[in-house]
Amino acid sequence: MTSGLWELVLKGIWITVQLTVFSSALALAVAFAFGILRTHRLWIVRFLAGCYIEVFRGTSALVFMFWIFFVLPLMFSYQLVPMWAAVLALGLTYGAYGAEVVRGALQAVAPAQREAGVALSFTRGQQLRKILIPQAWPEMIPPFNNLSIELLKGTALVSIMGVGDTAFAANLVRLALQESAEIYTYTLLIYFVLAFVISRGMRALERKAKAGIGRPMEKPAARKPGAGVLQMLKKVDGKAVDPQHAGTRARSAGGDA
């Protein structure tokens, strides 16, 4: 590959990064807005928010993107810049997935916490801001991590609409070189590295958020032979056995992530 072609790919990577960042920001805003509305006390608000979530979770991101690119201009004679149309499509779709995460995390906060807020006569906004969200936030990060990697993978779809992202650049390089194995291998590696960076960043964020409310990072439970017997002994004995040191031989579960 020549340097000119690499430059093309680099520009594509930059577009991919921008798309990921902007769409994630929109998705985050949408997720919080609709996730919170989903826990509203009026049923009609919950219902409407639920409609939005189900529609966007139900349809395919690519079909929705086609709709924004081809149908929206025809129906309303109003066309968005391709880049922003892509951000809108990705943000709204993944925001709907995120909204369910937000709702789940908010509902998982111990009810006594909300009751304490009521007892202190906090307004609903104060309850959310000062009690519920700070405690729910660390629980949201691992699913958000998965979603943002899904979103990164989703950004490749915009190449079909002619936005010059990494996948688009790869296609141009393929046409220029008449050879596809090399460039597509590189492209896959580029996306893998980007996903790795996102997931490391989210891991760090999770550690920080959990430390903020005084909880340690969860280690994936190591399953060891012999632990079952020790669990039974624990029940008989009535004393807690530290599962980390219970086993005789560690069984590798093959990587945690």
Partner: protein, 217 residues
């Protein structure tokens, strides 16, 4: 812009053919992903790291890279290596392989959920490894993960439109063709979008029902 019902009527025959192709892709892709995912999950529990590490790496790689690029890879690179498949086969293989890395995680969670005592009981009864897997562990693990597998079938359904880019004539590709022929894009694409909701929403309700029935017992 007016909504034209006659354009919808014109699209209907094409649309049903597209639905059929989509469902075909979905069924075959699910079969591949269920089978291959189980192989991955069992390989991840192998006793030697010479198996677990490469399998984990391959899984991570496939799961964290876009299906679209994988489709292009299969579509453009395989012919360079003198492997010729039809577009439908290429699409089914790519989507099946991609989702097998998700189902592997689901199976893994299911296998991890089987109490350790079951493994020990199998060892105590001197069961061979194959019997341990197929007679003791998997029957308990798979029952619990059926709803989760179903959810991945639904997300696979929503990824089938990607096969349009390599020319598989599923719903979206039929809509694009219809639009290119008649210059009416609005109706076909909207019909396809609504069709996805009409298929995916009842399916996800069904999965929630299954989850209540199968998991919480």
């Amino acid at each position: 812009m007016e909504w034209d019902w006659s354009a919808v009527d014109d699209f209907m025959p094409e649309f049903w053919d597209g639905v059929l192709t989509t469902l075909q892709v979905l069924a075959l892709g699910s079969l591949i992903s269920f089978g291959l995912g189980l192989v991955w999950a069992m390989a991840l529990r192998a006793r030697t790291r010479f198996i677990t590490w490469p399998v984990a790496l391959i899984n991570e790689f496939i799961r964290n890279t876009p299906l679209l690029i994988q489709l292009f890879f299969f579509f453009f690179v395989l012919p360079e290596w003198d492997v010729q498949f039809s577009t439908l086969t290429t699409g089914v293989l790519a989507i099946g392989l991609h989702y097998s890395t998700y189902t592997a995680q689901v199976y893994r969670a299911g296998i991890d959920g089987v109490p350790v005592g079951q493994w020990e009981a199998a060892t105590a009864l001197n069961l061979p490894r194959g019997r341990t897997w197929f007679a003791v562990i998997l029957p308990q693990a798979i029952r619990r993960v059926i709803p989760a597998l179903g959810n991945y079938v639904i997300s696979m359904l929503k990824d089938t439109p990607m096969l349009a880019v390599i020319g598989v004539l599923e719903m979206l590709q039929r809509a694009r063709q219809q639009g290119a022929e008649t210059f009416q894009f609005v109706e076909p694409i909207t019909v396809v979008g609504v069709a996805f909701i009409l298929i995916a929403y009842p399916a996800s309700v069904l999965m929630r029902f299954l989850e209540r029935r199968l998991v919480q017992q």
